[in-house]
């Protein structure tokens, strides 16, 4: 059988020069290329924003450090936060959705390929515009530099009187551009999922990743306008002289916070759900069991989506809302713990009694489970209003949300990288370098963010550029910086691995993990047309049905 392989060779021009290949990237409308471009660009921004984090940590390593000037420090934490959310998290989601959704639902491209390319270029130029502020703001306007108002840009810090020059305008305009990109990409993924499924792929037969991407993209549609609207208002305040957030004319600075967090809190789940999606695909395959409680997982995801739009003001307990408001937002925040808890139990239920293979994707998933649990627990702690009053704006909060965004989101995405890299490139990521990446990152992560919880308990506030010796924060901060360097090394190992394995990695074949979803039924990397014959499915695990015709899933579903 092995000799008469009818694999369709991927269309490749080995003689293509660099310019031709670049030109190919610029004109492409192929969902797989665009998906990889999204992810590649996001990794580029991850490195830049990660280096800023290293700069921040080095500055804070010892008391009264003079490494970074205070204003440089402010720009660093603003650019770090903004980049990580809008230029790393969002495009990685768009990239995964672009690459995987058409393959998983058995179609040949997205519903609107040109719109897809448009979304990518909006994101890329939005990102470049944000970083151009370093040159453009002082060079063209003669004032200011990169944005320095925090990624949430609270009013009235952003008013013209307090934010001179154009740095805040760069923040507004670049994010408006990337938001347009995210919106069209979300519309595209939803339309593809609903309108282009292969025959037999009913909604309740879709792989969980597709379901979760669907929910995430709906949340993008509902949440992003909150930010865009507020940013347009801010522009109106800054240029034609409006008064939306101008307290001297009767405006309210608090309403900016409401508008921002109406976007900002769903955003957290927009980022988290794709990580959940990766886990929901990877854990079953490496436990050799179908996912436990598929319909419950779908329902829990939808519930997270619904509840997450009613929790935003738990970011604002300290601005002085009524006790009714505080109670409402505390309770709704507690409620989110229910569907997320259901998810954790379902993943555990999938692993329970399975034949677990401890390959790299699975290792990242297991680390995710532990870290996400802790992140969730500190989240519930912060939802307790009096506790929040004590610890808000302290390093405890910093540690909490980095636990979710690094310890959970990034670990889930890394699991996805190790899992789908063989599909996208045709070769495995090197497992030895992968293990180095995993352990360096786990150790570095815990060194940094476990200790920062305690710095927060001891009263260390966020966003300070330095501190006096002898307040009990010195050792903790030093350990955190060592951890940050560990994590940076881990990312370097990952980068080397990605580049090296593309040429030298072990050949993967079409279905290296013995998995069950449609993307593994085509070549690695998939040809431009994805599938030579359009697939037909009869169950949630079409490849299981193929490999086990004597005992197919569709008999039981």
């Amino acid at each position: 059988m092995a000799t008469q392989e009818i694999a369709l060779p991927a269309v490749r021009e080995p003689s293509a020069s660099l310019m031709e290949r670049l030109h190919g990237l610029v004109i492409t409308v192929d969902h797989k290329k665009l998906g990889l471009m999204y992810i590649g660009t996001a990794l580029g921004f991850l490195v830049v924003a990660g280096l800023m984090a290293v700069g921040i940590r080095l500055q804070l390593a010892v008391p009264v450090n003079k490494l970074l000037e205070p204003d440089v420090f402010n720009r660093f934490f603003t650019m770090h936060g903004t980049s990580m959310v809008f230029l790393v998290g969002m495009p990685i989601i768009a990239g995964l959705g672009n690459y995987l959704v058409p393959l998983m639902i058995g179609t040949r491209d997205m519903a609107f390929p040109r719109l897809n390319a448009f979304g990518y270029w909006m994101f890329l130029f939005g990102g470049l515009l944000l970083y151009f502020s370093y040159l453009g703001a002082p060079g063209l306007a003669g004032h200011g530099s990169a944005p320095d108002v925090g990624w949430f840009a609270y009013a009235p810090l952003t008013a013209r009187a307090f934010s001179r020059g154009t740095s805040t305008d760069y923040w507004i305009l670049s994010l408006l551009l990337t938001s347009v990109g995210s919106t069209v990409s979300a519309i595209n993924v939803i339309a593809t999922t609903i309108a282009l499924r292969c025959p037999g792929m009913k909604l309740m037969r879709m792989p969980l990743l597709v379901w979760l991407m669907l929910v995430t993209n709906f949340m993008i549609l509902l949440a992003l306008p909150g930010l865009s609207g507020a940013q347009i208002m801010l522009l109106i305040d800054r240029y034609p002289g409006g008064h939306f957030f101008d307290t001297q004319a009767g405006g309210s600075a608090v309403i900016w916070q409401h508008f921002f967090w109406i976007f900002g809190h769903p955003e957290v789940y927009i980022l988290m759900i794709p990580a959940f999606a990766c886990l929901s695909e990877i854990i079953p395959v490496f436990s050799r069991k179908p996912i436990f409680g598929y319909p419950i997982m779908v329902g829990a995801t939808a519930m997270i989506g619904l509840i997450s739009v009613s929790v935003w003001a738990h970011h604002m307990f300290s601005v002085g809302m009524t006790s009714v408001g505080n109670t409402f937002f505390a309770i709704s925040t507690f409620l989110v713990a229910i569907p997320t808890g259901i998810k954790i139990f379902n993943w555990l239920g999938t692993m329970y009694g399975g034949r677990i293979r401890f390959e790299l994707p699975m290792l990242f998933c297991i680390a995710f489970l532990f870290q996400f649990l802790i992140a969730g627990l500190t989240g519930v702690m912060l939802a307790v209003v009096p506790f929040n009053w004590q610890l808000t704006d302290s390093y405890f909060v910093v540690a909490h949300f980095h636990y979710t965004l690094v310890g959970a989101f990034l670990f889930g995405i890394f699991a996805g990288f190790y899992y789908w890299y063989p599909k996208a490139v045709g070769r495995f990521l090197d497992p030895r370098l992968g293990l180095w990446h995993f352990w360096l990152f786990v150790i570095g992560f815990h060194l940094t963010f476990d200790t920062l919880h305690f710095a927060g308990f001891l009263g260390m506030p966020r966003r300070i550029f330095t501190y006096d010796a002898g307040r009990g924060w010195d050792t903790l901060n030093f350990i955190a910086t060592v951890g940050a360097l560990c994590q940076a090394t881990a990312i370097l190992v990952l980068a080397i691995n990605i580049v090296r394995s593309a040429k030298k990695g072990r050949l993967a074949g079409n279905d290296p993990w013995d998995a069950w979803t449609l993307e593994w039924s085509t070549n690695s990397p998939p040809p431009d047309y994805n599938f030579a014959t359009m697939p037909t499915v009869r169950s949630r695990r079409p490849l299981w049905d193929l490999k086990h015709p004597e005992d197919p899933d569709w008999k039981y579903e």
Binding site: A195, G200, L222, P225, G226, P240, G242, S521
Partner: protein, 210 residues
């Protein structure tokens, strides 16, 4: 998995689809365009909600005049123009579906004219507010929120008018054929959305806000 095993696995899967017996039920999915336009309307609704929320929150909070009661008149005529354009676009679509090209062009053009009249009325209103009543976007909170919300809606009318004009110019050249039926329908859905938003804006700004 060893290399040979992997290869066997591959070839088995490559030949695969034949071996799955297709289900007999028919496979029908909604049109991607319709899903996309509904999504667009959803996210636009979010954008308008933020501006409406801002408007409602700031009603009566201006520290200086003029107030809405002093300067705003009910834009009855403009409203009639815009809402009737929703009717003419439906008539245009109906004529198009019955292959009556002349009638289609007439009603489509009527839609554009009505939209243009609406925008003209808005321009007249703004001119009066700015030059006669001295209300600009920077005068007070009312000015800021009023021009933002009404301006956001007017922007959507302008975008819709561009789409309508594009179709009209193409139809004059005879390029609009039956295969564009769904595209025209999408433009008309967007247009209905813009009209529906006007009803909300009208209620909030000219009825509740006054």
């Amino acid at each position: 998995m060893s290399e040979t095993e992997a290869k066997e696995n591959d070839s088995m899967i490559n030949e695969a689809y034949l071996s799955i017996a297709p289900e007999t039920t028919e496979w029908k999915l909604p049109s991607a365009r319709k899903v996309a336009i509904i999504c667009l309307v959803l996210t636009e609704t979010g954008l308008f909600s933020i501006f409406v929320a801002g408007y409602v929150f700031y009603i009566g909070k201006s520290l200086t005049g003029p107030t809405p009661r002093q300067v705003l008149d009910l834009p009855v005529l403009a409203t009639i123009f815009l809402l009737s354009s929703s009717v003419t676009i439906v008539l245009a679509e109906r004529a198009f579906n019955r292959d009556r090209v002349g009638l289609f062009k007439f009603f489509w053009f009527a839609t554009i004219v009505l939209a243009g009249l609406f925008l003209t009325m808005t321009a007249v209103e703004w001119r009066k507010l700015i030059y006669h009543d001295g209300l600009t976007i920077s005068t007070n909170l009312f000015g800021t929120t009023f021009y933002s919300l009404v301006g956001l809606h007017a922007t959507h009318v302008v975008v819709g008018m561009c789409l309508l004009l594009l179709v009209f110019v193409f139809s004059l050249g005879g390029f609009v054929t039956i295969m564009h039926r769904e595209r025209l329908q999408m433009i008309s859905w967007y247009w209905h959305f813009v009209d529906a938003v006007w009803i909300v804006v009208f209620t909030v700004v000219y009825v509740i806000g006054r």
